[in-house]
Symmetry: C2
Subunit: 335 residues, 2 copies
Amino acid sequence: MATIQDVARDAGVSTATVSRVFSAPELVLEATRSKVMEAVNRLGYEPNFAARSLRTLRTEKILVTVPDISNPFFSQVIRGVEEAAMAAGYSVLLGDTRHEEAREEQYAAMFRRKEADGLIFLGHRLPNVLADMVAAKGPRTPIVNGCEFRPGLAVSSAHIDNERAAAEVMTYLYGLGHTRIGVVTGPLASPISSDRLTGVLAAAQRQGRASALRISVGDFSIESGVRQTGELLDEPGRPTAIFCFSDEMAMGALEAIRQRGLRCPDDISLVGFDDIRFAQYLNPKLTTVSQPMEQIGHEVVRLLLDILADRASALQNVTLPHRLVVRESTAPPPA
Amino acid sequence: MATIQDVARDAGVSTATVSRVFSAPELVLEATRSKVMEAVNRLGYEPNFAARSLRTLRTEKILVTVPDISNPFFSQVIRGVEEAAMAAGYSVLLGDTRHEEAREEQYAAMFRRKEADGLIFLGHRLPNVLADMVAAKGPRTPIVNGCEFRPGLAVSSAHIDNERAAAEVMTYLYGLGHTRIGVVTGPLASPISSDRLTGVLAAAQRQGRASALRISVGDFSIESGVRQTGELLDEPGRPTAIFCFSDEMAMGALEAIRQRGLRCPDDISLVGFDDIRFAQYLNPKLTTVSQPMEQIGHEVVRLLLDILADRASALQNVTLPHRLVVRESTAPPPA
DNA sequence: GCTATCGATGATTTCGATTACATCAGAGCG
DNA sequence: CGCTCTGATGTAATCGAAATCATCGATAGC
């Protein structure tokens, strides 16, 4: 591969001029510029990335870590991230942590090694090395969180109001006439789950129905949806509505409902969370909370770019709008 | 951030020794090594990636381009890629091309700029710059394809036998007694679609049913599944079975079937392709062709690593096993 | 007509790590 | 005792581009 020296020689100019043709073309005479560009095309020159990066201390890359890339919710957020990043001239380094701390550490080390200019993490844990970095550099640290806002984290983030969204779901179900409601949460270590649970409890209390609530802890997977919903359905005093904290778990819930010969929504109402692309094509079409996934991706990139451009001085926690989308999986409880 | 010089000074050794502690520790005396490690820990040193990369000409990164990351089939393949890459000490640069040539070119340029040691592309197009590279360097070019084998591409690849898989589906449907079968393909420019169509036609001809075949071209999306299946169902001489070239289109097909008050499988049998995680949780559970998605990811990384380690001299086209998974969406045609 | 200024370009240093080569001390051997 | 060899470490060149500073010619202003 041709280097900048080759181009300079071929064009009869210095390397500085060649460099300028790329980074500040207005400083170079039109004639010189085209002479250089000819040489560039002739030799098929592309600036070497490592060399540039070494000199500028920038990589133009954003590292994105995600607990599970095969989860449609995350892959949709990533799509937004990729789009916004690309538009700003950044590319995306993807890290699938598989919910494992060891992998999170690996990616944290990568970031410390400056393999990326910024880090977006979609999980809820921030490895220690990074927490230290945040503690040292404050809100200028180029680390941003998506979806899992927790005040203690001390990084900017973009997310929806999970507590309110969950409360809205409950209010909606109570409004339909349901009194015994089963809730399948995600792991409670994650704010995404604990915030939603807080909203659920608050709404139940407001209705004086807290004692009729059944909580079951899942892990956001389809399988845990089948399992946890199954348990709720098999208890005495079966709930007439199930609220799952993810659409995937709701898919599992549908399966559990069918396995028992019950029908949704006639016997059991079901609400999911996220509004992944598939939610509206399930049978019955799933009532769920729509999250602006791509927008979260865009926003989180914007926050990061602000930090990288030194435009951000204070933490920003952006709350994006959610929307309860009522479809076919909810109805009044059976008489 | 501390540099290797700082560490060397702090430990009272030369930079060469520090470097050796990382890359060839057996050459360094135990006492020296621990002295260096102390300094490393004290200063929180991490080798600068760009500097290393400039010197070694390696990035330890693999660029993976994919037509649509939010497609569960691809995200599952990527998961396999990420896992295998990570295990080999490589990280993954993700490129979502959104089926757009312009983005493919952008990523091709990134690769030419040496931002990654190798390229895995899951689409069917190879940008010109890369095709030129392949033509020049032959089978040692670190470019590998996943899923979309095409002989003319001149790169190694891992994929299933799409032609045979599709033929098996047709044979299975004919075996159930179906005679009028509708097929919803993907874009025919992609070998994945054209190979499957070849298999479909061959099987139909063997049965003498080629004239009763109805072909409709979709684009792998749910929406196109709704649309194309809808058209097939509305034609006179409605098919009794629909074969979609992706599970997503099959989800759309289910919707189209329901919209018309028809029932699957009682009125219409349905077969998908891929066996994405959701296929077995649809209602009815989808009969489909299972592709070893993560394994394709692993294999494609293995092929690439072979090239990078100079172990590969000839092209390798690996065919992985598929499996027809019969679930609830297929049955004999109505009487 | 002379100098200050500016625009265009060149020479050179720099980024931080790796590595070929040099050096040096001590062990082993005749 | 001196020489060679080996193991441990140091010296310095190198990777390729960017950026600072220097240079030079032309232009403008007085």
